[in-house]
Symmetry: C3
Subunit: 328 residues, 3 copies
């Protein structure tokens, strides 16, 4: 892609050498000719100018720089760099569209340009155009995948799951598995399985990490909203309702029937009890624990600890505790 076009598409205001051809993104240390790098401050900018990169995305501070390198000046260099990477990555080509070793149900409806990896097993499903299904995946009957999804290797998707467009699912993830619900017989102490026959819906532009598990609804539907990003080894239980643009770090766990509103940010190893509600824009620090049925509210308000408290309050308790330990 010509640098000039790249600059326009990432909203960069100033360009030199717009005719240069750009082929990829890289770190300053690893950059080769043809790469674009980025710098958020003057120190990194100096290093970037010494790199082999063809062009540097930098902030306003770089406006007057004396250099022979091409510069893209933007308000937010990191964001522009991320967008440039997305544009340059495009939608990578596979070696072959449908590997002959894949086992595909004769009634499956695969859109144009769908690719299926070796030894994948595809039930009676609907798959949108240009979606890629990795080797070893098992996609059960009655699953719908949108267009331009990327399903990495060894993913399992149970029946009655529906993924939107451009959903990315990393290796080993399990989508639509049975929720964890039983009814205890008080006479015998044994547990009868409560039916886990609901659905799973994942909206557009969601990304799901490696070995993460998301359960189907019990009788209802588990839902993950548009643009939500989920890290590795996360567990999401049955009937959860997740909003849009939520961020969930690795190993967080959500028991069941939990509502997470838009723009919530969940730290690593956070645990949330059933029927809790985390309102829009709340931040939960790593390892925090939210009790069942609890409601947390406040855009941009951080909570921490178990049970989760507003950050300031929790830090005050920690400080008191430390002083107490020293006094006694």
């Amino acid at each position: 892609m010509k640098l000039k076009e790249l600059a326009e598409r990432v909203g960069a205001g100033v360009v030199a050498h717009g005719g240069i051809e750009i082929s990829g993104v890289a770190s300053v240390a690893a950059a080769l000719e043809g790469d674009v790098v980025f710098a958020e401050d003057e120190e990194n900018f100096t290093a970037a100018l010494k790199s082999r990169a063809a062009a540097v995305i930098a902030g306003q501070f770089a406006h007057q720089a004396q250099t022979s390198k091409a510069l893209l000046i933007v308000a937010n260099p990191r964001l522009a760099f991320a967008r440039a990477a997305g544009l340059l990555r495009g939608h990578a080509a596979h070696s072959g569209p449908i590997h002959p070793s894949a086992v595909i149900h004769p009634s499956a409806k695969l859109g144009n340009g769908v690719s299926v990896g070796a030894n994948a097993v595809i039930g009676n499903v609907i798959v949108g155009a240009r979606t890629r299904i990795g080797p070893g995946c098992v996609i059960s009957d009655a699953v719908e995948l949108g267009t331009e999804c990327e399903i990495y290797a060894n993913v399992t998707i149970y029946s009655d799951s529906r993924l939107g467009n451009r959903v990315v699912v990393h290796a080993g993830a399990v989508l639509g598995s049975d929720g964890f619900g039983y009814v205890r017989d008080p006479k015998t102490g044994r547990h009868d399985k409560f039916p886990q026959i609901g659905k799973l819906e994942i909206e557009d532009d969601v990304e799901i990490g490696a070995n993460t598990t998301i359960d189907r609804g019990a009788l209802e539907t588990t839902r993950i909203g548009r643009g939500t990003k989920i890290d590795n080894l996360v567990h999401i239980g049955h009937n959860c309702q997740f909003g849009e643009d939520v961020i969930i770090a690795a190993q967080a766990g959500f028991s069941g029937s939990i509502t997470i509103e838009n723009q919530v940010v969940i730290g690593g190893q956070v645990g949330v009890g059933e029927h809790a509600r985390i309102q829009e824009g709340v931040l939960l620090g790593g390892q925090a624990g939210v009790l069942p049925k609890k409601i947390l509210r406040g855009k941009g308000v951080a909570f921490w600890g178990t049970p989760a408290k507003p950050l300031r309050e929790y830090l005050r308790s920690l400080a008191s505790l430390a002083r107490l330990g020293k006094r006694e």
Copy 2:
């Protein structure tokens, strides 16, 4: 199944329209004709009567209801509904018994009606009647599976594992992997692997969640007792001895040589140290931590926090801490 037969089998005392044919269970919102729903209180009962369901399982409060719907009156509607679901689910049919792409050891002994999914790899094993092995599973040599087990896709079972009857294993679970045991050489600081050559035994009616891992014994046997239910992403280390009807929520972890007695309930993200013992009927709240060698006792007694304390004591400490934070 005729409603009358269903009523008898779930122990419902009162029935109208016993001749109706029932085909499945559903939520009140999603119910179609032929479905049975349940209601635990009058509010849900009113909604259930307005649904399209053919029949409603309800408590004694519904005894006198004026309705043209069929009613099943029981002491515990949720339990009866769960049982009805189990009866109606039956043992679902697969499209084919043994997929031609599966790779099966020539000496493997497969019982009547065993089904094996596409691209599964089955060693020299013994599999009981009507057990189903999903696509992409890898079952090593010297494994025994009982009758009517359901092994979902992409499960891996190491050698020397033995599963009872009606065991359910969700996708991506790993059973019988090596435990985590090393001996440190004090001279070099390097770690030699302690042998992990024991066995894994899982008794009847156990259910194991997606991407859960259960290690084989080091020299002995790891055991999971009858009827125990294990959620997703749980880790159970080598030599653990779990009793019957234990409930373990998602992402709980058990290091090794731990005893969990019958009817224990373990919350999500709980961690238990090696050689600990949790006695019969103890409840552990989410994220609780149990120290190595610790013994927790008391039927129905709840523990919480790290290190886990009796719930009342722990809540008192939390309250004191909160007051302290405010005072200072």
Copy 3:
């Protein structure tokens, strides 16, 4: 193997019956003829002498024992037993070298004696001699595996990953997946993916547990040092730099750009924030949490709690808290 040779190779100082043939290791309870067992104290030694084992590895205390059993006397019986197990295990033979159902890229370079399990999918890779790749594994293009690695079933390795020699990877693990990095657009609240195009390097003699996930670098390289042992369901984020002979128990999580120096020991369910550094020989107790950018130091110094404090300090706080709870 002759007992005499085994004794020499594990550094045992005293032997009787050196000509006996030893075939394996076992627990005292399960030992058969031909097995060697070990005893660290007199009580276990007495039991070992009554077992069917051919030989007993024991400490100096056993020097004068009256017995017809063969004895190997060493300073550290557990370490000698672990080494004996390694020597006797050798490098177990597979039934066949490369299963015909495996799908292997025509340009892949496989060393002598490489074995590939059924339905594995191998890209354009380099694999060292005698490495074994289990059934159902997916190894992407541009991966290098050293010699004598053991990759168990259903493992996924993304492109640009490099494993050293004798690396063991348990079933379901995912290596080299995308890190979790996004740039939030403050105008829309949406998240653009930051490029995750770095590499993963795993050095010799590392062992990785079942369903563990290790992400590739964002622009740099994620590195796991020689001899480091990682348990099940661990998450290691992008750009982490782990030293040698590190021990990481199950379900621990490392967010990103974390440095773990040599000989660190990490308990189960520990969480470490981004850019933290754990210096050589530090011990972190189970469920401890380390804040982003925090540095912990001290060989042999134990830390516990969230945020992690020196153990003594943390225990003092816990004791104060308990007293406070009782007083009020």
